[in-house]
Each structure stands twice: as C-alpha cells, then as structure tokens.
C-alpha cells in the first residue's frame, strides 16, 4: 500500500511550476495582477479610510491643478470642481465602480450562463423559447430599461446593476448555449449518462466546468464594457447620481472641463483604462496558463533562462 501523503506531495511536480511562479515570470501579467489587487483594496477600504476627505468641499479652491503638494498629498492629482481632492475621490469611487461592474458582470453571468446551460442542454423547444427571449433582450434598448428602472425604482447602485445586467445577459446566454451544444456531444458527458448521472449533475459537474473558462474570458472583457456603459448613462443623465460616485460618473462630470481642467475627466478615465487593460492582460495570460496545450508559451522563456 502506498502512502497517501506521498501521493499528494508528488502531484505538483507533475503539474509543472505553480501558477504563482508562472505569473511572476510574465512581468506584464504580474503587474496587471498587482494593479488589480490595489484597485480591489481601494474598493474595499477606500470609503472607510478616505470617505470623509473625498467629500470635503471647498468651492473657492476648486479645480486645483495636479502635481503640487501645496495642499497635501490628497491633492497631488488635483482637485475637482467642488474643490475635493481627486486622489481621495478616485480611491473612494473605486468602491461603487467595482460594485457596479462586478455586480453586473456576476449577475449577468449567472443568469445568462444558467439560461444558456438550460437552452443548450434541454430540447429544441426550450432552447427556442430562451433564444427568442435573448433576441428580445438584445433588441430592447438598454436606455429604455435604464429609464424605466430609474424612474420606477430610483437611481441606486443595485438598480444600476439591474439595468446593466439585463443588457449583458444575451452575450453570456448565447456563448454558453453555443458551447454547451458542443460539449454535451462529448464522450465524457455520455459516459456520465451511462453511469446514470442526473441532468443537474451533468450540467453542473461536467458541462459547466468546461464552459467556465470561456465565460470568465468574456466576463473580464465585459468588466470594462460595463464601466464604460455606466459612464455613458451618466453622460446622458440617467446613470449613477451624486452623492454616489463612480469613475464613469466622474468622467461624465469632468467632461465640460476638458479645456480648463483636464484632470477632472482624465484621471478617472485613466483608471478605467488601467483596470480594463490589467483585466484583459491577466485574462489573456490566464487563458494560456490554464490551458495545458498552450502553457509552453509561458514556459519557453524559463527554459531558455535556466
């Protein structure tokens, strides 16, 4: 009889280097991961630490230019149109921004993927109904949803998530269904059927894990999309409303000052770009790192160095 503990310790060796060390090796992906970590920390701690500072108005000291320490570190990125420190506001806004983006992406993912799994796995009729529903959502203008929800329910963050999530459902639904149609024909799904596995088990244990990487990739791409969509709604006056702040709202509000105080719209815009870029780079890396057939691309560098 072999020793169990030995069997466990042997496993990583065959799997090759750990993900973390592979991440460290790809500097671009590593930087992205660190940036995202910082943004998540901002989102979690920002309002508690800097909430007070970010709301501190000073009308006469508005549009304070950046890169000056005259008014303390908080003003290093300048002050906004009400004289509030940009840096503090950016950090605090990370909270709502991340809430909305993550909330939207997650709920659209769960609902869309759920429906997609059912549509792909179940018979033709169920599938038809769900796909036509997706058509309806796709041709239903998000703006109307936004106005309906905001008018009937009010402009709160959960409602923003609701608005944006509804519009993002079809993409997950379609992708999931397409993948499921392919995956369910695979041999291991038949193998599970032969063993007597229930539909739920086949969907959740066998099909979902195979579809998941694609969904995660779309979700990361969507993250940026949602931040921008939220910003666009703010531009049209039907998005997040003060006193809540998001980067998207800050960009929309800073737009009139493009000539006179560029930093009002520039920094939050830059944050959106950085977040989107980091997510995409990391997800590109993850797609390769988690795919055994592609991993050598990350590996090759190492073997040359050693």
């Amino acid at each position: 009889m072999a020793d169990l503990s030995l069997a466990k310790s042997a496993a990583p060796n065959v799997r090759g280097p750990s993900l973390l060390s592979m991440l460290w090796r790809d500097k671009l992906a590593f930087t992205s991961a660190v940036v995202l970590l910082i943004i998540v920390l901002f989102a979690l701690l920002g309002p508690t630490l800097l909430g007070e500072l970010a709301g501190d108005q000073n009308l006469r000291g508005r549009n304070f230019p950046p890169f000056s320490f005259d008014r303390g570190w908080a003003f290093v990125l300048g002050g906004d149109s009400l004289g509030r420190p940009m840096l503090a506001r950016l950090v605090v806004a990370a909270h709502s921004t991340m809430m909305i983006a993550a909330g939207t992406v997650l709920s659209a993912l769960v609902v869309g993927a759920g429906l997609g799994l059912v549509a792909g796995y179940m018979g033709k009729n169920t599938s038809q109904v769900i796909m036509r529903l997706a058509d309806v959502i796709m041709s239903f203008p998000s703006l109307l949803i936004a106005v309906v929800v905001l008018y009937v329910l009010g402009p709160s963050i959960p409602n923003m998530i609701l608005v944006l999530a509804i519009t993002r459902i079809p993409i997950y639904l379609r992708t999931t269904r397409a993948e499921v149609l392919e995956v369910r024909e695979r041999m291991f799904v038949q193998a599970a059927t032969v063993m007597g596995a229930s539909h739920a088990r086949i969907i959740l244990r066998h099909i979902l894990p195979v579809v998941a990487p694609t969904l995660v990739t779309i979700a990361t791409l969507d993250f940026a999309f949602v931040m921008l969509a939220e910003s666009s709604l703010s531009f049209l006056g039907i998005g997040v409303q003060p006193p809540d702040i998001t980067w998207g709202l800050m960009v929309a509000q800073g737009r009139p000052y493009l000539n006179t105080a560029w930093w009002l719209a520039f920094w939050p815009g830059l944050m959106i770009v950085i977040t989107a870029l980091s997510l995409n780079l990391l997800s590109n890396w993850m797609r390769i790192a988690l795919d055994p057939a592609q991993r050598w691309r990350l590996e090759a560098r190492k073997t040359k160095n050693v």
Binding site: A7, G196, H206
Partner: protein, 537 residues
Amino acid sequence: MSEPLLTVRNLSVDFHTARGTVNAVKNVSWSVGRGETLAILGESGSGKSVSANAVMNLLDIPPAEIVSGEIFYEGEDLLKVSYEKHRALNGKKIAMIFQDPLGHLNPVYTVGWQIIEMMTAHGRPADMARARAMELIIRVGIPEPEQAMHKYPHQFSGGQRQRLMIAMALMLKPDILIADEPTTALDVTIQAEVLALLKELQAETGMALVLITHDLGVVAEIADRVVVMNKGEIVEEGSVRDVYHNAKHPYTRKLIDAAPGKGEIRLLDQAAPLLLEAKKLCKTYGNFAALQDVSLTLARGQSLAVVGESGSGKSTLARTLLCLEEADSGEALWKGRDLISMGRSELLGVRRQIQMVFQDPTQSLNPRMSVYQLIAEGWDIHKLMPDRSKRRARVIELLEQVGLDAEHVDRYPHQFSGGQRQRIAIARALALEPELIICDEAVSALDVSIQAQVIALLDDLRQRLGISFLFIAHDLGVVRDFADTVIVMKSGEIVERGPTAQIFDAPQHPYTQRLLAANLDPDPDVQAQRRAALIHA
C-alpha cells in the same frame, strides 16, 4: 540501394514544454532512394513524425528547437535554405499526406479547389491544374469525378478523403511522398485499398515513399526497409523481413510479440446463465437503417464481440442497449426485464450493473476532474459507499487492480498516457461492480503494446470477477484473442455469428471473408502470401 534522394543525418530536436525540455528525437539518421519505400515504425510519442515534419519545415519553432543535424535533398541542407525556397520545394518536390484526412482537408473549401491549389500555389495556370486534378481524381478512383470536384470534404467517406489527399499530393509529380499514418483512421478493407493505390502510384511515378506508421501489418504490406523508433531514437534498421525475423533490439521484439491475433482461441462455456438478450432491435435515422432486426444473447462471464466496419451499426447497437438511443422496435432484456420500457428508477439501478468503456479515454474522461473524482463519481450518483473516508482507499485499490499506482489518485487525465487513461476508465467502470461492461472500440486507439496489456487486464477481470463483456471492435486480431462469440455486422444487419474459432477458421459469409482477408499480418511473408492469394482470387 540506389543513390539516396533524401537524407536525414544526425537530427536532434527538442521540445520546450511546461514540464521542461523533451528530447523529441536524438541523432536520427535515415535516407530514402528513388522508387523505394521506407517505413518509420514507432508507437505514439516515439518521435517518428518529427523528422518528417522537419523535412517539410512544419515544426513550430518554438516550442520545437532543432538542436543539430542536416537534411540533404538535391545537395542542399533543407535546414539552411531560405523560407521561400523551402516553401517552393514543399508540395512540388516533396509532398505529404496525413492521418485523419477530415481534419487535414480544409472544411470550408471544395476538394477541387484544394487540389487545384496545389498547382496554382506553385505558379501553374489554373486550367492546366484543373485538367490534372480531374485526371488524378479519376485515377484515385473517386466516383462521379466532375461533381466530386465541387463537393466539400465532409461529403466524402474516410477512404475517399484519403484518396483525394493522395491525388492532391501527386499533382506536381513529387520526388518524395511522405505519408504520416495514412491508413490509421480507416477500416481494414479501405486500408488495404489505399495501400494498394499508393503502391501502384509509386510504381507509375517512381517516387520515393516515406511511410510513418505504428502498424506492423502496414509495414509488412508495403515497405521495403524499416527504421524502428523508440523514445526519439532509432533502435533498429533494415529490410522488413530481416527486422521481423531477426530483430536484435528488445523493443522491436516486444513490439512484434505484442501484435494481436496469435494466441489460443478460447472455447465457449455453454452452461452459463443468460444475462442480456436482444430481440429484433430496429433503429433508423431518416432513411438510413442503423439496426435491422438485430438479436443477440450474452451469458454471464462471457465476452461477445461485435465486429464490422464504420457505419455497420455496431455503435448504435451499444447505444441502444445502454438506452442512450431509443430503439424503434424490438426488445432488450436485462435479466429478463425489458430495458427499453423500463421506468426511471429501475433503469438507474440497471445503470450501475452495466458499465461502458469508450474508444477514446482522452474524451471520455472529464479533463477537469481528478482521478479520484472520476472514479468516485459513480458512488455519488448511486449513493454507494456513504462512508467517504473509505472511498479513497477503495479508489486506490481499484487503481492498483488496473495496474496504476496510489500516487496517481489526485492527478488529472491529461497527465497520463493513453493506455493509462484507458485503465482509469476501466477502474471507473469497475468501481460500481458491474455485471456487464460494454467496450466500444476500447483498445483501438492504443498502441499495440498497450493494447495487449489492456486486453490482458480485461481478460483477467473476466476470469476473476466473472464480468461479462460486449466487445465492439474493428480489429480482428484483438477480437480473436478476447472473444468467446463473434457477431459480424454490415449495414445494420448481422451477417454472421458463431464461436470465435468458427468465424476465424471457417468464415461463411463473403463479407466476413473479405474482412479477414484485408486484415494485415505483421509477418511480411504471411502478408506476401495473402497478397498473392488475393491477386489469384
């Protein structure tokens, strides 16, 4: 041997992979002359295709890296010529055909377009190419050649696709044709035809043929010389007959010994109780009759083989017996109870008793589940072994039963070789202590040496545990070694049935006879005799 046309000298190629650098081939040298057929024989992972790919400049660099070596053709080292020059040689002077012609033909273009492109890509006028393509399509025996030009690859059968590939390769009358496992995916009768075609064409054009294969029978049938590869190195080299009869290297010996179809034929135990009985099963898809009045019986502890070529309905039979497909009519009785009309919960109980091992373990094992999860899943489904603490020990026990180690328990399928994966699939089937295991081409994707081991394992399980087997296969050698009874299927019908010895020694139906005749024997002398007999007939 005449002046060599193509010479590979001391070629070493490394692959950089996630698990470190792999020396794919080490100091490989071979050459081939005009009109000669060289076989490169080896099992999967032996590096037999690497040198051919290097000749064609098809290696992906990176991850591949050519460490050393030379490839001489017409006095030039192909590893040193410019990309453009190498490209101009490909197809024109050296052509290549592949295993799996479905994947290797572009699915979205007509075969006519693809064949013609072989010439237009090298600057020949399109009308000339069209005429030549027609000529070759007729030559390789495609029916209705005019229409065939406008069809897409998926509209042809496997054998036809390989013929089309050959036609394409021969468009510019190349000096050398490299064939990478050209018949592996084909039925035996088709394989024989394709090999015969290759031989004829070689005789007509005088080209050199480099044949990469894992099948000793193919080597015996067609090759003049053979190099045997193992783990990236050439272990044996010589004329086919010489190597077969006087193999020096132990690996070659092992390979030759592992070839199936040479053991004792087993005798049937008539007394065993009946387990499964099918009565007049019928199943049609549209106009296509997949099963017509198929009846069979299987007793406890016995193994029943179903043989037939692709499209004969043998897989549909398995799927119908497993209730994956619903039969149009007929009965399938499991211990006297009809499976087809059975209720859900009763069927769930039967599902535990009948297990299946699929052809390709790469696909039948969920890549995202560990070995432990794969094997234990059945217990979750059937609510067995509620004491989870004992499960692990039982999984290890099963792994050891199929010849794997305890330390494999937390690994994932992609970390195993093909043979090991099939063992995991068998362990998974055994976990539910079934009474019947249906094997759908369970060993046909495996290398011969592994194949022999798996067959031995199954045989052992049958004897020790009294499990019955329904064994679906197209490889007659394997069937001969394992089955008690054989059913031969063609176009959804059973054309012949009987004890194994009867089928092999005195086949009645012409189709059975044809199957047996097309089966290639690893012994070049035996194969030469068969060929002679076929020509006579």
